[in-house]
């Protein structure tokens, strides 16, 4: 009797999923596909706002001694730009693709905890709105996205901006952690029969590893924010040198989060690249096991390199050397991945779709960002260029040239699955080339600016000949980038209504999500194809030459020899 009472309402609600329409249908939904779309669209919205902030900054810097923005407003805008792009855009958009794609790719009906999934999205949305509410409370955070103490302490930031910052990051972190837990539980328990850990699609592999990185990294951010709040609200002494506290301790705690964070913003993007490069090269991924295990190596190493953000603090030569070595070490598994992707393309019959162009753009840009990253591991170079535009150029090559291009590649790849219609290829090509042009104009010159000594986070600069031209070029690049984003938005709006009908499997894909309709029905699959290898749909389409048979043949041949 009582079981009936517990069980019935759940079943009724599950049947209702997808039947409610309109706004209420979206707000009340616990369907992983709807939640995923909400995540992606919300992140896209914040991306536009963060982009407008970037455009405002670049406009301020277009000529020397400009008076377009007030100095304090400029501080608020660069702080909010960084915080927005990291916590409100990149992390959520990756989570969005994860919760949308992971259940489909492993042949599941939904994530393990659908309500927790919806909760994760809504708490993120709430935290994001609360963060921007600070503008209306007359003091947005203005101490930079990593809020170094003592600048972020009460005596130097005495309005409530930093309190908003700390509280909102904890709130958003709750959502991120909840979703990470959900993905772990989903992958652990809901894989379709036959999908062993060796047959997981690489995107699922990487979101799984990424979820563990989130679980290890977010507590450090929470701790840093909580200690900062105790200092600010209860007049504590954690980072207050007068009371014996140490501002450097804040840096240690924050970067214990901050460096894994860098990787948790790129690992799922690598997963997307590892899915679509093989499909568009018509070749199986080169070194599946190496791609997967190098991700684990990177995830582990990412927790041991945090102090390379702190070389300028004066930790002493021993510590500097240890962290320099660890930071260079992490470039090895990352480089291995790049070679895996190139080797996958090598000799393949590459189809140059927009998605593939973005993936190629990713390979080039991310390599530049990775290489400039290695230069920072060399302590004397770091001392020379720390807090200059060289740093800004570096991490934009990683986060925009890396993550953003990969996410756009993924967006062009999966848009047909999500909406049932193709994104326009001609518009997509314009989008890609303008993005590449605008991005490189904006950030390539910032390497030079940094080496010439232009500091980041300063609202203007004196009239120095080279600086003027380089800044002008950088700003023009930003405007081109803005145009490319507008083209993308138009492409989404237009194609969602009038785009070419995609069909179930427009790319001739190999993973399970292409086995269902586009968009997938509420219950995802009527029948999940049998899974005997990492490419179940290849096996289905080529019964004469399936992956699992080829492998066992190879093994037999080896034994025979």
């Amino acid at each position: 009797m009582s079981e009936v009472r517990v069980a019935l309402p759940t079943i009724r609600k599950l049947e209702e999923i997808g039947k409610r329409t309109g706004i209420f249908g979206w707000v009340s939904s616990v369907d992983h596909k709807q939640v995923g779309i909400l995540y992606i669209l919300t992140a896209l919205g914040w991306f536009c706002i963060g982009g407008i902030e970037a455009a405002l900054m670049r406009t301020q810097l277009i000529v020397p001694e400009n008076r377009f923005l007030e100095p304090y407003t400029y501080n608020e805008i660069f702080t909010m730009h960084g915080t927005t792009m990291i916590f409100l855009v990149i992390v959520p958009v990756l989570l969005g693709f994860s919760v949308y794609m992971v259940p489909l790719m492993i042949g599941a009906r939904d994530v393990a905890f659908p309500r927790l999934n919806a909760f994760g999205y809504w708490i993120y949305s709430f935290g994001a709105l609360l963060l921007y509410f600070s503008f209306f409370a007359h003091d947005a955070p203005a101490a930079g996205w990593f809020a170094y103490t003592p600048l972020s302490e009460k005596p130097y930031s005495n309005l409530q901006g930093m309190d908003f910052w700390a509280i909102c990051l904890v709130i958003i972190g709750i959502g991120t952690t909840a979703t990470a837990l959900n993905i772990i539980a989903t992958v652990a328990t809901l894989r379709v029969k036959g999908m062993s850990i060796r047959h997981l699609p690489l995107f699922v592999w990487m979101t799984l590893v990424n979820s563990f990185v989130i679980l290890g990294a977010m507590p450090a951010l929470n701790a840093a924010c909580i200690m900062l709040l105790v200092d600010r609200q209860l007049y504590g002494h954690f980072f207050n040198a007068n009371g014996g506290g140490s501002p450097v301790f804040y840096q240690h705690v924050f970067w214990n989060f901050g460096h894994p964070e860098v990787y948790l913003m790129i690992i799922p993007a690598w997963g997307m690249i590892s899915e679509l490069i093989p499909v568009f090269s018509r070749k199986v991924i080169y070194g599946y096991a190496v791609v997967a295990t190098s991700t684990v190596a990177i995830a582990l190493l990412s927790f041991s390199v945090w102090a390379h953000h702190m070389f300028a603090v004066g930790l002493g030569h021993t510590l500097d050397s240890i962290f320099a070595a660890a930071s260079m070490l992490i470039a090895v598994p990352t480089g291995v991945k790049i070679f895996n992707w190139i080797a996958t393309m090598w000799g393949g019959s590459i189809r140059f779709t927009t998605s593939m162009w973005f993936a190629i753009g990713f390979l080039l840009m991310f390599t530049i960002g990775g290489l400039s990253g290695v230069t920072f591991a060399v302590v004397p170079i770091d001392w020379q260029v720390t807090d200059t535009y060289y740093v800004v150029a570096h991490f934009h090559y990683v986060l925009f040239g890396g993550t953003a291009l990969a996410v756009l590649a993924g967006a062009y790849y999966w848009f047909p699955k999500i909406t049932g219609r193709m994104l326009s290829e001609p518009l997509g090509k314009w989008h890609f080339w303008l993005t590449l042009l605008g991005f490189n104009l904006t950030f390539m010159v910032q390497h030079s600016l940094g080496i010439l000594g232009m500091p980041r986070r300063v609202y203007t600069y004196p009239n120095i000949p080279e600086w003027n031209e380089l800044n002008l070029i950088s700003t023009i690049g930003t405007y081109i980038l803005g145009i490319s984003v507008l083209i993308f938005l138009w492409n989404i709006i237009y194609s969602a209504r009038r785009g070419k009908i995609a069909g179930n499997d427009p790319w001739d894909g190999w993973t399970l999500e292409w086995a269902t309709t586009s968009p997938p029905p509420v219950h995802n699959f009527d029948d999940v194809p049998p899974v005997k290898s990492a490419r179940p749909l290849w096996d289905l389409k080529h019964p004469e030459d399936p992956d699992w048979l080829r492998k066992s043949k190879k093994a037999r041949a080896k034994k025979g020899r």
């Binding site: 837990l181 772990i184 328990t189 105790v230 014996g244």
Partner: protein
Amino acid sequence: MALNLFSNKSKILMSAFVGSDAVFFAFLITSFVFYHGSSKGRPNPWRDLDPATTGMYSVALWASSGTMWLSEQALRRKNPRRVRRWLELTFVLGALFILGQCLEFKGLFSKSIYPRTDLFATTFFTTTGFHGLHVLIGLVMLLILRGLIAGGFGREDYQIEGYEAAAYYWHFVDIVWVAIFFILYIWGTR
């Protein structure tokens, strides 16, 4: 058996969550250890702590892990009356611990020791306060479990697994207190 951590989605979720939460406590405890002795102001601020009294309330909390375990066993044996009894006792022991912590904080406040007093007090109140918050959340969770049991929850296997997953949290909070008690009260006041 309850030892099989990864048999069930709820248990996987809760294990991963407490693992993450443990990292959070590790940072708070680290802040205490890192700043121990560098506190400016009063000499030997840890004299104000009373390990013996706190130890008694701590025993109540640790005992509650045992009673929780007994309630899990009773649930496995489909004995709802015993489940309820052990669960209620767990709640009482947890509440006793919170009472002890309130009295301890009150005593410190009456000696004008607040988080703002010095670095020792800042790290002490933050670490133990956050643990107290976790116990409070655990008590709410126990109340929810009690309500569910009253409604007949716990007959299906997945419900038993869910109940045990919730118990993981309670055990975790107790284990964290072992670390906090020995580092803050025993090592910190030695």
